[in-house]
């Protein structure tokens, strides 16, 4: 086969260009690919056949590289067909020294399908990079949110501590003026008074009693939260008679309620009698506030080998499910309450703290038909030291 027809029918497009890119020789394959005859191609500059991006690339990369190395390999370029569509090729070029100067031998390989595949690879890479960037940005945002959250948490904790300390100081400071009011009203009650004055003095006495109870609760609360914890002085006591006395006093305090005491078992329990009275007081006050006062409130004290137990039961609506979980946390209050039992919501919290400091715990059982029972169990033996 003559060399000329081998050149024309080669499986790649071939061209020879001068150093400035002017095409001097082409094969038939290039004419076929571009829809341009050899006559039309000769005299044109190779770089002018490229798309604009390719031309810039030629000027900034290819021409300097050809000059530096005398060759380039595997450069992907788009060439414009006469009708405007792009032909994607891989270019290899080699410098050749002739008598009258330098020429470049160009070989162009069609790479349209491979180009599609490579573009898919590139797109996949871009997508992966974009996703990575997104992930990094999300992580950064998350970190910042976490930092802000923990800062807000620290501030909230500081504020809570400050508030509790303030409650401790204020309730402690209120105690003295209140004691003065109680003593003064007791003293005044001893003289002779009109019925109206007597009634007013009674109000002063009851109100300052209530205020005194609230302050005692607050002091216990702050003691448990920010102080050393609630302290007790436990000693062997007759539990039943302690409860009996407490119930008697509560009958005076809550004249509208019917209080019944059941005692079971015999013996002594090692407890702080004042604190046990406080427990019963808080639980009965709770029953009076939320229970059905048409039916009796039952206070039970039990002594056994495995320890002692006191409980308070009332009828009435069950405690809502939503309230049960946080029932013994401070500042928890039921929906309905009479104004005469209004408190800051510390009663049950103090009951739990007192039970625990005695080495026991408190439990509640509440349903609409059986009513509500709070039970405080004390362990046998010596309670844990305060």
């Amino acid at each position: 086969m003559p060399a000329e027809s081998l050149f024309d029918s080669a499986a790649c497009a071939l061209a020879v260009a001068r150093e400035d890119g002017t095409i001097v020789h082409t094969n038939q394959r290039l004419s076929d690919w571009l829809g341009l005859s050899a006559v039309e191609l000769h005299g044109q500059r190779f770089q002018d056949l490229l798309t604009m991006g390719g031309r810039i690339f030629y000027q900034t990369h290819l021409a300097p590289m050809l000059r530096m190395h005398g060759s380039v390999t595997e450069v992907k370029l788009d060439i414009r067909h006469r009708d405007g569509h792009k032909v994607t090729v891989l270019l290899n070029a080699n410098q050749r020294q002739l008598a009258d100067g330098v020429v470049y031998d160009l070989a162009l390989f069609g790479t349209t399908d491979r180009d599609k595949y490579e573009r898919e690879l590139l797109n996949a890479r871009k997508l992966a990079e974009a996703l990575l960037q997104e992930k990094t940005a999300t992580e950064r945002a998350l970190h910042q949110a976490q930092a802000e959250l923990s800062e807000a948490y620290a501030i909230a904790q500081q504020r809570a501590l400050f508030a509790e300390q303030m409650v401790a100081i204020v309730s402690h400071d209120l105690k003295n003026p209140l004691t003065a009011i109680r003593m003064a009203s007791d003293f005044l009650r001893r003289g002779e008074h009109t019925p109206k004055e007597h009634q007013l003095l009674g109000h002063i006495g009851q109100s300052s009693e209530r205020a005194h109870r609230m302050i005692a609760d607050l002091l216990d609360f702050t003691q448990a939260r920010v102080g050393q914890g609630i302290t007790i002085r436990a000693q062997p006591v007759d539990l039943h008679s302690v409860i009996d006395r407490a119930v008697d006093e509560l009958r005076v305090a809550f004249p509208r309620a019917t209080l019944v005491h059941h005692a079971q078992g015999h013996g002594d329990a090692c407890l702080d009698a004042d604190r046990v009275q406080q427990i019963i007081g808080n639980l009965v006050a709770n029953s009076v506030a939320y229970g059905d006062l048409q039916q009796p409130i039952t206070i039970a004290s039990r002594l056994g080998n495995d320890g002692s137990e006191i409980s308070v039961h009332n009828y009435g609506a069950a405690i809502p499910e939503a309230l049960l979980a946080g029932l013994f946390e401070p500042m928890t209050r039921g929906a309905h309450q009479g104004s005469d039992v209004r408190s800051v919501g510390l009663g049950l919290y103090i009951v739990r703290e007192l039970a625990r400091v005695h080495g026991g715990d408190v439990a509640v059982n509440s349903c609409a038909t059986q009513g509500t029972t709070f039970s405080v169990k004390f362990q046998a033996g010596t309670p844990r030291p305060a």
Partner: protein, 271 residues
């Protein structure tokens, strides 16, 4: 900071004035191989690679710093402070001509003169200005760069990053010629071709030699003529050359024009 490492600085030649050569988009300092040796007898010559190009420290490439030409201009001023002696003439190809103009603006009086080879203050046409390109052309270039990313592989990186100051440096430079890390190449292409430095060159009073190729797609004759009109102390020299790199394809003509322009500073050191 180790500037020599960052910018792969080469200092050579002997003279009482300093020529700082700054290469353009796409290549590295090896593109000066045909021109710079011409000046070694009369000038101190400083060559360097822009950060991200050639054998510069790729670790120093900070996307934010090099998101405009200003980052490169600050680098150039740092190099002048560190390596130049006597009056300084900046020889900038293509985008580096504008980097030089910015460096001059940032430190007035520090640069004695500019030689701008194929300069262009703006590549994209406006209604009243011919830069030679449309916005789409630049997108097409980015696409072509993308297509040739596949010629870059991570196994190539160690060779190209190399270790400056080594004896085989110059061969590494020519081997890595016009090969740039793909992401950097794309950002630099954007920064270069989307920049508009007309406000920086208009009225710049430093003496400037404009070396304009007679046929240059990247910096057409009209752009060179525009610069000549807005630079009050400029000389304009048309070089008979096809293409954007007359310092490579027509080094004698460039050297001759530069010799005439540089005569006032061309004094060898007595020592």
């Amino acid at each position: 900071m180790d500037l020599r490492h960052r910018n792969n600085v080469s200092v050579m030649g002997n003279g009482s004035s300093t020529l700082v050569f700054s290469h353009g988009f796409g290549c590295n300092q090896a593109m000066w191989n045909s021109l710079a040796p011409h000046f070694l007898q009369r000038f101190r010559v400083v060559l360097y690679d822009l950060v991200g190009a050639g054998l510069s420290d790729l670790g120093a490439y900070d996307k934010a710093r090099y998101s405009t030409l200003e980052g490169y201009a600050h680098d150039l001023n740092e190099l002048i402070d560190a390596y130049a002696e006597g009056p300084v003439v900046l020889v900038g190809h293509s985008v580096s001509a504008m980097i030089g103009a910015l460096a001059d603006r940032f430190a007035p009086g520090r640069v004695a003169a500019h030689v701008m080879i194929g300069p262009s203050p703006r590549y994209i046409d406006t209604q009243s200005y011919v830069g030679g390109f449309k916005r789409d052309d630049i997108e097409d270039l980015l696409d072509t760069l993308d297509s040739n990313y596949l010629g870059w592989s991570s196994s190539m990186a160690p060779v190209i990053m190399g270790a400056p100051g080594q004896p085989e440096l110059s061969s590494e430079l020519t081997e890595s010629f016009c090969r740039t890390e793909p992401d950097i190449a794309k950002q630099f292409a954007r920064v270069t071709f989307l920049s508009d430095n007309r406000a920086d060159v208009i009225g710049l009073t430093t003496p400037v030699l404009i070396l304009q190729s007679s046929d240059d797609l990247i910096a057409p004759v009209a752009v060179g003529e525009y610069l000549h009109t807005v630079l009050p102390n400029s000389s304009y020299q048309l070089v008979d050359n096809i293409g954007h790199c007359p310092h490579m394809s027509a080094p004698q003509a460039c050297a001759a024009a530069m010799d005439r322009f540089l005569a006032p500073w061309a004094v060898a050191n007595a020592g």
